[in-house]
């Protein structure tokens, strides 16, 4: 299984994502620059955190027009796995691949600490290794992670089981304590917390590891286990 980690000017969690794939899965992974126009070689695309384009105008507003984002939309359409973390989540909402938007934290503070998340949906390709309702510890680091969507969108998120993670102790004012959501099909997930920073007990938590193992397991289930590394 091949992973791509997108890199925009200002991405700063790209190396963490790369290492998380390398260390937890040992599967091939490449950095892919934002100008790339072909992602056909990849099975999973990670859109990392950071401050792409300096967060100018709005977080993710400019990155969504990077050439590579057309390819991300195509990959999502083809049913490939797309995971946006933090700034990656903001980019995916700006691109319209996920509903809603991320506002300034209610506290106006940049929050950087561990959070406890509840796994609401363990049927996405990214969460099958968790139990439904399980509580996991994953760190956050953001100033603009306050998820917003209107009532109607929230109702449809609930009806389609698109809420993937919620905070047990809401750190930013997000609607319905939402920490992460998926698209209707379930192959695109966006989340503010950083699973790639929680892949080893030395880092304080290894609860994020299972997101990566879930992706690989789901991919193997659909592609057979005889894939050559």
């Amino acid at each position: 299984m091949k992973f791509a980690v997108l890199v925009f000017p200002g991405s700063n969690c790209d190396i963490d994502c790369y290492k998380a794939v390398e260390d937890t899965l040992g599967e091939p992974v490449d950095f892919v620059w934002h100008t790339a126009t072909d992602l056909s070689a990849y099975d999973c695309i990670l859109v990392p955190g950071g401050f792409s384009y300096g967060d100018y105008l709005r977080c993710g507003a400019i990155s969504r027009f990077a050439p590579v984002m057309n390819e991300v939309a195509k990959a999502a359409e083809q049913g490939k796995f797309v995971l946006g973390i933090c700034n990656g989540f903001q980019i995916l909402t700006e691109a319209g691949l996920l509903p809603g938007a991320l506002r300034r934290n209610e506290s106006m503070k940049f929050r950087c600490h561990d959070t406890t998340l509840k796994v609401v949906n363990n049927t996405t390709p990214f969460t099958t290794d968790y139990a439904e309702g399980e509580e996991i510890v994953i760190p956050i680091a953001h100033g603009e992670g306050n998820y917003y969507c209107d009532e109607e969108t929230l109702a449809s998120l609930k009806a389609n089981n698109q809420i993937v993670f919620t905070y047990t102790n809401n750190p930013n004012g997000s609607v319905a304590d939402i920490a992460g959501i998926c698209n209707e099909r379930g192959n695109v997930v966006g989340m503010m917390p950083h699973p790639e920073r929680a892949v080893n007990s030395l880092l304080g938590s290894e609860d994020g590891k299972r997101m990566f193992s879930s992706i690989l397991k789901t991919w193997r289930d659909t592609h057979g286990t005889a894939s050559v590394r």
Binding site: L57, A61, F65, E94, A101, R103, R104, S107, M108, G173
Partner: protein, 81 residues
């Protein structure tokens, strides 16, 4: 040449934490009359066209596509010249 001014503000229905914080600060320095405060963005554009109708149409496009996120923001614009 036409000049355009674009104003982007957080929707009334959406909490504006920056606005709330600045309102609180004004209260604490004695401006009790401030009942609400919303923070937005102001942009000045110079457009290489004299066709007002076409310019207005394209400005709307710019706002919808990039300048505002219509999930949480409202926009309005003025054309001059």
């Amino acid at each position: 040449m036409l000049k355009a001014k674009v104003y982007v503000t957080i929707k009334k229905s959406v909490l504006d934490p920056q606005g709330v914080a600045v309102q609180g600060a004004l209260h604490s320095v004695g401006f009790q009359e401030v009942e609400s405060l919303r923070i937005g963005k102001y942009m000045e554009l110079t457009l290489d066209t004299n066709d007002r109708e076409e310019a207005a149409k394209r400005l709307k496009d710019m706002c919808e596509k990039l300048l505002a996120n219509t999930v949480i923001e409202d926009y309005r614009y003025e054309l001059e010249g």
